[in-house]
C-alpha cells in the first residue's frame, strides 16, 4: 500500500491556516528566515538545482537550470507565478490558493531572495475569484508583518507581490502567452528564443514558475537537499556513458478525476504506478480500467496494458506520454474513446489562440473529423487491387483483392501530424499547443483504432469490450519503443 506523503498539503486542512498567525504556528515563514539568515542567494539557487526540482506546471523543466539562464546583471528581473491552472483534469493549485496562500508567498519570497527579484506577478485565472481573494488577503497580512514591501526582514531587499487576473483563455497558461497577457495584450504566445529567462515580461529577465513548484521551495530550504532528494526514484540515464542518474525528486500533487471512487488531490512521492494511484483514490468506479490520461488532457493516453507505468517525469516520457500537470483522468469500460477524443478536441478548437495557420485551421479540422466519425458519417472506401490467382471460372486471372480504407482515420492522422508531428516531435507552430492537440488525437486513434473503425463501419458510436477496443502492445506504435527505465541503484 502506498503511503500518502503530506508535505505541501500537510497543513491544508488546519483551520485558519490562511491567516498569518496560524501559518506562523505551523513553521510558517521559518524557512524563509532560515534562507536569509544562513545562505547567500546563490547558495539557495544551487540548493534548488541540487534538489533536482522539476517544474510542476507542464514542461517538467529543471527549475535550478532555468534560474541559471537568468542574467543577474540586468535589472529589474521579474517573477511570474503561473496560477492559470486551466489544463483539463488539474486542480491542485486551486487548493493552495484558497486554503494555504501564505505557503505560496513563502515560496515566492525564497525565489525572489535567490534571484534578487523585486516584483512578482501572480497570474491567477479569472475564474478563481475565491483563490484571488484569499491570496490578496494573505499578501496584505504579509505586508503588515513586513515580510513584503521595502527592506523585507532587514535584508535591505524590496519584494512586492501583485495578483493579476486572467480572463478565461487557456493559452495564457503557456509562459509567453501569460507574459503577453500580463502586458495587457491578447494572450498570444511569443516565438522562442528569446526565452522568458532572458527577455520576458516588459522585455526583462523573467522567471515563470508554477504555484506547486514554488511551494516546494520552503521545504527544500527548510529540510535540506538530502532530505528532499530521498523522495522519488532515481533512474539511470543510459544514453550517457557511463550512465548518469536521472532524478525525479520530491512529491507530486496528483489530481485524479473521472471514474474513480474518491477523486481528489493526493500528495505522493513521485514514481508510483497508475494502478497504485487508482487504488489510493478509492479504486475504480466500474469493472475495468479502459484508459488513463496521465498528465492533463494534452498527454497521450495510456491503455490497460500500460497501467504499470510509473507516474514520474522519466517513466512517462519513455512511455511516449508525459506527466505534464499531473492531472490523471481515468476511464472505465463503459467509455467510448471516440467520444472522449471529441470532447477534448472541442476544447482545443475553442482554445487555439489563432496565430499560426496550422493550429488555427488544423485544430477545428481535427475536431470536425472526429465529430463526423462520432456522428456515424466517417468516410470509408473499399478499394480493389489487381491480384493474380485462380478465378471463379477455374482459370488463372485477376481475382481482385479488396481492402477497407478508413479515409477519415488517415486524414485525422495526417492533419494532426501537420500541426505537430508526434513521431518526430517537431511542430509547425509557435507554441507547443500544437503538440497538445496532435498528441491526444494521434495517440487515441492509434491505440484505440478498432473503436474508431467500428464507429465508421457501423455508422454510429460503438463501445467495444476493452480487449477488442485496444490495439495490442506489439502492434501499437508507442510500444515498439516503450522502454521501462532502470533504477540507478540497480545498475551493476
Amino acid at each position: 500500500m502506498v503511503q500518502e506523503r503530506q508535505i505541501l498539503y500537510e497543513h491544508l486542512d488546519v483551520p485558519n491556516i490562511n491567516t498569518f498567525d496560524v501559518f506562523r504556528q505551523h513553521e510558517g515563514y521559518t524557512r524563509f528566515e532560515k534562507a536569509i539568515a544562513e545562505y547567500q542567494p546563490e547558495e539557495i539557487a544551487q540548493m534548488v538545482w541540487d534538489a533536482g526540482l522539476k517544474g510542476r506546471g507542464g514542461a517538467g523543466f529543471s527549475t535550478g537550470e532555468k534560474w541559471s539562464f537568468v542574467p543577474r546583471d540586468i535589472e529589474p528581473r521579474y517573477l511570474c507565478c503561473n496560477a492559470d491552472e486551466s489544463e483539463p483534469g488539474t486542480f491542485s493549485n486551486r487548493y493552495v490558493l484558497e486554503k494555504n496562500p501564505h505557503l505560496l508567498i513563502e515560496g515566492i519570497l525564497i525565489c525572489c531572495y535567490a534571484m534578487g527579484i523585486e516584483t512578482t506577478y501572480v497570474y491567477i485565472r479569472g475564474e478563481f475569484t475565491l483563490g484571488k481573494k484569499m491570496l490578496d488577503a494573505a499578501i496584505k497580512e504579509a505586508y503588515e508583518q513586513s515580510y513584503l514591501g521595502e527592506n523585507v526582514r532587514d535584508t535591505g531587499q524590496t519584494i512586492n507581490i501583485y495578483t493579476h487576473p486572467g480572463a478565461g483563455a487557456y493559452i495564457c497558461g503557456e509562459e509567453t502567452g501569460l507574459i503577453e497577457s500580463l502586458e495587457g495584450k491578447r494572450g498570444q504566445p511569443r516565438n522562442k528564443p528569446p526565452f522568458p529567462a532572458v527577455q520576458g515580461v516588459f522585455m526583462k529577465p523573467t522567471v515563470v514558475q508554477n504555484v506547486e513548484t514554488l511551494c516546494n521551495l520552503p521545504f527544500i530550504v527548510g529540510n535540506g537537499v538530502e532530505w528532499y532528494t530521498q523522495m522519488g526514484p532515481t533512474y539511470a540515464d543510459t544514453r550517457k556513458d557511463p550512465p548518469e542518474p536521472d532524478r525525479n525528486t520530491g512529491t507530486k500533487l496528483y489530481c485524479i478525476s473521472g471514474d474513480v471512487n474518491e477523486p481528489g488531490v493526493y500528495e505522493l512521492e513521485l514514481g508510483l504506478t497508475c494502478t497504485e494511484l487508482i487504488e489510493v483514490a478509492g479504486g475504480l468506479r466500474g469493472e475495468e480500467v479502459k484508459a488513463v490520461i496521465p498528465g492533463g488532457s494534452s498527454a497521450p493516453i495510456l491503455t490497460h496494458y500500460e497501467l504499470d507505468t510509473r507516474l514520474d517525469f522519466t517513466s512517462l516520457t519513455l512511455a511516449k506520454s508525459m506527466l505534464g500537470s499531473g492531472g490523471i483522468i481515468v476511464m472505465n469500460e463503459t467509455r467510448n474513446i471516440v467520444d472522449c477524443l471529441l470532447n477534448i478536441m472541442k476544447f482545443y478548437a475553442h482554445e487555439s489562440c489563432g496565430q499560426c495557420t496550422p493550429c488555427r485551421w488544423g485544430t477545428p479540422w481535427v475536431r470536425d473529423i472526429v465529430q463526423r466519425i462520432a456522428d456515424g458519417e466517417g468516410r470509408q472506401t473499399t478499394i480493389t487491387r489487381p491480384k493474380f490467382g485462380i478465378t471463379e471460372s477455374g482459370r488463372w486471372g485477376d481475382t481482385g483483392e479488396t481492402e477497407e480504407i478508413y479515409e477519415d482515420l488517415d486524414l485525422l492522422e495526417n492533419v494532426a501530424n501537420n500541426i505537430a508531428n508526434v513521431d518526430t516531435m517537431t511542430w509547425n507552430t509557435i507554441c507547443v499547443f500544437g503538440i497538445a492537440v496532435s498528441w491526444p488525437a494521434v495517440s487515441y486513434m492509434r491505440k484505440f483504432r478498432p473503436e474508431f473503425e467500428a464507429a465508421i463501419r457501423e455508422g454510429k458510436l460503438v463501445t467495444l469490450p476493452i480487449a477488442e477496443a485496444t490495439v495490442p502492445p506489439e502492434e501499437n506504435y508507442a510500444y515498439q519503443q516503450r522502454f521501462i527505465p532502470k533504477e540507478f541503484a540497480d545498475l551493476e
Partner: protein, 174 residues
C-alpha cells in the same frame, strides 16, 4: 478607428470605489497598458458588460487606442460585449465533468430556464427573457474532483444533480 469617430450616447466613468482601486492598480506596472485586464474586470463589474463607452473610457485611462482595447476584449471569453443576465451560469463541460454527467445538469438548466446556451458571439441566445439568467458552457474550471460543477457569477457549486441545481436557483435573491 480613431477615438473621436466613435459615437457614445452616455459616457462611462468609474464610480468612486473603482476609481480608487484603479489608481492603486496602475502603480503596480511599469507601463499603463499592463493594467488592461484588471481595469476591464473592474469596469465589467460596474457596468455588467464592456460597452463601447467602457472601451473608450478604458482606452483614455490607459492612453491607448480604442481599437487596442477592443482587440483585447474580443480575445478573452470572460469579457462580454453585450449585456448579460443578472446571474451568469457557467456550466463546465470538459472531459472530467463529462465523465460525471454534466450533460444532465446542462439539459436540466436549459429546460428549467427555458433558454438556449449562449455562444460567445450571441449572448442574447442564452439569456432569459426577464434578463435574470445567462446560461453558457465553459471549459474546465479546475474542480474536476467535485464534478460536475457550475459557477453562478463568482461562486462555484460542486457535485451537482438536477435537485441541487433547483435548490441553488431557488436560493438566489431576485
Amino acid at each position: 478607428m480613431s477615438n473621436e469617430i466613435i459615437q457614445i450616447e452616455t459616457p462611462f466613468q468609474f464610480n468612486e470605489e473603482n476609481k480608487r482601486e484603479f489608481d492603486e492598480l496602475i502603480g503596480r506596472y511599469p507601463v499603463k497598458e499592463a493594467a488592461m485586464l484588471p481595469t476591464l474586470h473592474l469596469a465589467q463589474r460596474q457596468e455588467g458588460y464592456i460597452s463601447p463607452a467602457v472601451m473608450k473610457y478604458v482606452a483614455e485611462l490607459l492612453e491607448l487606442s480604442v481599437m487596442k482595447v477592443k482587440d483585447v476584449v474580443t480575445f478573452y471569453p470572460m469579457f462580454f460585449e453585450e449585456p448579460v443576465g443578472k446571474y451568469v451560469i457557467r456550466v463546465c463541460h470538459t472531459l472530467p465533468c463529462a465523465l460525471r454527467d454534466c450533460k444532465v445538469v446542462l439539459d436540466h438548466l436549459k429546460a428549467k430556464l427555458g433558454t438556449d446556451i449562449a455562444s460567445e458571439t450571441n449572448l442574447a441566445k442564452g439569456t432569459t427573457d426577464d434578463g435574470k439568467f445567462t446560461l453558457m458552457k465553459v471549459e474546465c474550471l479546475a474542480s474536476c474532483d467535485v464534478a460536475p460543477v457550475i459557477m453562478v457569477n463568482d461562486d462555484l457549486y460542486k457535485n451537482l444533480t438536477p435537485e441541487k441545481v433547483d435548490d441553488i436557483l431557488e436560493q438566489l435573491p431576485n
